[in-house]
């Protein structure tokens, strides 16, 4: 892609010769993968709910599966965004709901019990990935990394705040167009308010 984008650069603009390591960590990449997976699964749940419920012996619960699909899409979009921690933790919470729903379908009178077992095993595996990803991005992007410092000694005024206060009023010429608007004159009672 970067080579294609060179088409819009001028002749003298620097072009990439050798690329350095990406800033994206393994956890960031896992978040992206899980985000796309979430959107894909969500679309499948939304548009193939009948087939899914039939395969799992859950006929009549299409609306529930579709609502789970919407949840998956939402979590996926969040996982692909810069708020990926929230996205992945929402996926972990959603996995909990999936597990509860599938576990309730493991009843002995369900003729598709085996399929439910396979689906449950898959969800447990994805839950593990979601948890690892959520832990990873939360730890990597936590504000608590590094030292906590106090900048109370950084005034920026070598002669102190007292000496600085109003120092520029003595010699700064306010540009005419940046003076307060004429309406301020009304506010200070120099004129009466007008209508539209």
């Amino acid at each position: 892609m970067r080579y294609i984008s060179n088409i819009v650069r001028s002749e003298g603009d620097p072009k990439v010769l050798h690329s350095g390591p990406s800033l994206l960590s393994g956890a960031d990449r896992l978040a992206r993968s899980l985000g796309w997976f979430s959107i894909g699964l969500g679309l499948a749940e939304l548009f193939a709910a009948e087939q899914m419920t039939r395969a799992l012996g859950m006929e009549g619960k299409e609306a529930l599966v579709r609502s789970f699909g919407l949840r998956e899409i939402g979590s996926g979009i969040l996982s692909l965004s810069i708020d990926k921690q929230a996205g992945l933790w929402s996926r972990v919470a959603g996995d909990g709901l999936d597990i509860m729903m599938l576990a309730s379908e493991l009843r002995s009178d369900n003729p598709k019990r085996e399929n439910v077992g396979v689906a449950l095993a898959m969800v447990l595996g994805v839950t593990l990935l979601d948890f690892i990803g959520a832990q990873g991005v939360t730890s990597r992007h936590s504000r608590n990394r590094g030292r906590r410092r106090d900048y109370r000694d950084r005034s920026g005024f070598p002669k102190g705040v007292g000496a600085a206060r109003g120092a520029a009023r003595k010699d700064f010429e306010m540009p005419r167009e940046m003076r307060a608007a004429p309406i301020l004159a009304y506010a200070s009672g120099q004129s009466s308010a007008g209508g539209e």
Binding site: G20, N144, Y151, R154, F157, V161, G166
Partner: protein, 393 residues
């Protein structure tokens, strides 16, 4: 040479790239000795500003030594000069430049045809920014080509360190212009949202311009401590209501002047439902900006007051209370910074010891550590407020 290159959302890399070359007689090549990561670089890092392309070199706060000049520079700068490079590229000759409106220079944006379509009328070219502002390679690199170099520079004397003058290229004049746009009177309360680098410079500028009281609003303790050091009263919006506290400080009337040093990425929290709404729409690409601060400023500002907006907004925003804005008779002033309009005056103030902008630097690292510092700065880790990079280290 090495440079920090944008490869996509949250992916900056230290790449080896070809050296820049003189393309036009008015160009110069500057060997960068110091450059910085700006808050607005984070909007690019997050891919919230449209028209970035993989392979774009980041950075619009830089300074260094002139190593080559084109034949048309005509002695305005010469090899060996030490210069700060302003982030706005200016021709110095067009109608807008002649009026001092440098950030809307009519000639420096080489992709003006694109900008005209998006903005109605294009603005100046900017270094290390979107292709809507020319797509010029930025200064987080060992070398940078400076177009219109005879006008686009600030010469600096040898007696001052890089750290003292580097921010003349962006955040210092940006904070200054934000305060100047308020036309501060000695009786004014100036409220400033956001205590990042631009907010810190706006606080110092409002103090220098003689505000009776400066109120700084943020939720990060180290940023608030730096704001207090500069003479501001602070409000931690996670601990108290901004509107109630500002009204309390102003006898119920609200601040006369309000500065938005936050821009399009306002803090998102359950305490501010509008911020959640904006974030959700932004994620669905239904809104570009999160204007919570702008809404709050319009609400709390004293009638007939002034709103100054140096914070970067990129496109469309929802639910702006225009009725409130109109009925209260508020004046809105905004824009990218007309850097060169202010820099002679600000350089003199640095030389006279009125202010030393280096106070804001919390991290200084080599260029190759730059990508990681984007993350540290964005995540506000290690009490990071301002990062300076040293490409020659």
């Amino acid at each position: 040479m090495r440079a920090l290159v944008w490869h996509g959302k949250e992916d900056i890399r230290c790449d080896t790239v070809s050296d820049p070359r003189i393309e036009h007689p008015r160009d110069a090549i500057v060997q960068v000795t110091s450059c910085a990561i700006c808050g607005s670089d984070l909007h690019l890092f997050h891919n919230f500003i449209p028209a970035m392309l993989p392979g774009d070199i980041m950075g619009h706060e830089m300074m260094g030594e002139v190593v080559e000049v084109g034949s048309g520079v005509n002695g305005h700068i010469k090899k060996g000069d030490r210069v700060v490079v302003p982030f706005t590229i200016i021709c110095g000759e067009c109608d807008q430049c002649n009026r001092g409106n440098f950030s809307v220079c009519e000639r420096s944006n080489r992709k003006k045809h694109l900008a005209d379509k998006v903005f109605g009328h294009g603005t100046a070219g900017l270094f290390g920014y979107t292709h809507l502002t020319g797509g010029y390679p930025g200064g987080q690199a060992e070398y940078v080509r400076v177009p219109f170099a005879d006008a686009t520079h600030i010469k600096v004397p040898d007696g001052l360190s890089d750290e003292q003058v580097l921010f003349l290229g962006d955040i210092f004049p940006t904070g200054w212009q934000a305060a100047v746009q308020c036309d501060i009177q000695p009786t004014d309360t100036v409220a400033i949202w956001g205590c990042g680098p631009v907010g810190q410079m706006a606080i110092r500028s409002a103090i220098l311009l003689g505000a009776e009281r400066v109120v700084a609003i943020d939720c990060i303790s180290e940023r608030l401590s730096m704001a207090r050091a500069g003479g501001a009263t602070t409000i931690n919006f996670k601990e108290e209501s901004v509107v109630e506290r500002l009204n309390e400080l102003t006898g119920g009337k609200g601040p006369e002047k309000c500065i938005d040093a936050t821009g399009m990425e306002s803090h998102v929290s359950f305490a501010h439902p509008d911020s959640l709404y904006d974030r959700a729409k932004q994620m669905m690409m239904l809104e570009n900006d999160r204007p919570h601060v702008l809404r709050e400023m319009i609400y709390v500002c004293r009638p007939a007051g002034v709103l100054s907006i140096p914070g970067v907004y990129s496109g469309l925003a929802d639910k702006i209370p225009l009725g409130m804005l109109m009925n209260k008779g508020l004046t809105v002033r905004t824009g990218q910074t007309h850097v060169n309009r202010w820099t002679d005056d600000l350089l003199r103030r640095i030389e006279e010891g009125q202010i030393d902008p280096s106070f804001v630097i919390t991290h200084t690292v080599a260029l190759e550590d730059g990508p990681e510092m984007y993350k540290v700065f964005r995540d506000k880790q290690d009490s990071c407020i301002k990062v300076v990079l040293k490409p020659q280290a």
